[in-house]
Symmetry: C3
Subunit: 155 residues, 3 copies
């Protein structure tokens, strides 16, 4: 039988996994639902968001704020990100690497429906007892129009 300290360490790992799953989910909820507070809360102030082409790399919460509010939320009239396949590898007690995949469907500013597939390579860090994203690197596999598709809510 394990002693309480070891059990508590195992519990901490599990709770940390849920915290990271929530960060990955809140990225989608915050971005798609235009909930800025939710979106901003997932990043450390010095976080790096490396979106890659066609957008670039953004460093620090100010650049992340600017690209989201001034570029990305204009580039997408609407978007739905669906994150799956999250695999977490701990690197000590207070850091972990995450890999997950995202399926995205939405409408760009030219009113064209798009389908996107990408992976997120994340670095999560726990500071002062709180887990947030330190680095998110995006690798896109496709980003293409869905010809003839119009995305609208039911009347």
């Amino acid at each position: 039988m394990s002693d309480g300290t070891e059990l508590e360490h195992r519990l901490d790992r599990i709770e940390s996994r849920f915290a990271m799953h929530e960060l990955v989910s809140d990225y989608c909820h915050g971005f798609d639902k235009r909930d800025w507070d939710r979106f901003a809360a997932i990043w450390w102030p010095d976080a790096i968001w490396d979106i890659g082409p066609p957008f670039g790399t953004f460093q620090g919460i100010e650049e992340i704020t600017d690209v989201t509010k001034d570029i990305l939320w204009d580039a997408w009239l609407a978007s739905s990100h669906f994150t799956t396949n999250l695999v977490i590898t701990f690197d000590g007690r207070d850091a972990a690497n995450g890999l997950c995949d995202v399926d995205c469907i939405g409408t760009t500013s030219d009113k064209q429906a798009q389908t996107v597939s990408a992976s997120y390579f994340d670095r999560f860090e726990r500071r002062g007892g709180i887990w947030k994203i330190a680095t998110r690197k995006v690798k896109m596999y496709h980003f293409n129009p869905l010809p003839g598709v119009t995305l609208t809510p039911p009347a």
Copy 2:
């Protein structure tokens, strides 16, 4: 070191999270695979299912039964719901609010392939030690045809 009671409380939270994830998953399995027992088991008898347009709001397991068997399972010849991004916020020990997103592809009764994106806003309650859905509110972002697509299994 925490004492056993606190560890047990933390474990209970985690097990509750898995129970809620299972409810959200069984909604999809039950609905898509036409497994009525699985679908019915996720709802409290007094559950409210607010699907919104074009379907409406249904209160209590009898109305949920009727709309599913008499309307929704006819409206969809086949459907695949993929639920992601589940975020759970506890409201005491025996209640919690859930937010998740669903990507759905399927064929409506007019033989038209459709793509749907929506969020589910859930109220989960634990009664007599069992977690079930007390309220599910659906918000749809799009529900549209996929022109020229036919959805069929491989021969």
Copy 3:
């Protein structure tokens, strides 16, 4: 209050759930990213992979290796599998049944974009303390072209 042994058993269940979620995720990461080591590591040497039509059933890691490297990775120029709705039912301490759904989009060797929906019916077994897949049975709901769609990464 529970004693430590019971708490540890509950923790073991939870850690096992995460291990199985990781297997299901690594199937996608390994297959789609052509990461053979990751893909191979999810299967027991005597694993059965019953893909069904149009591919067939494969028994043992050698057959799984051959079909993946010689047939499936040629059949798909690129693929993105998104696994969701995982429900796990334990069958003793060291075995469990899993049910999950997969949404797949990719390009087949004829350069045609495809959409696939399927379920995976898994048997997970723990041997020597390690969880892997003993059996994966695939049931496909649709596997069809997306006319006019070309899947390419951004420039």
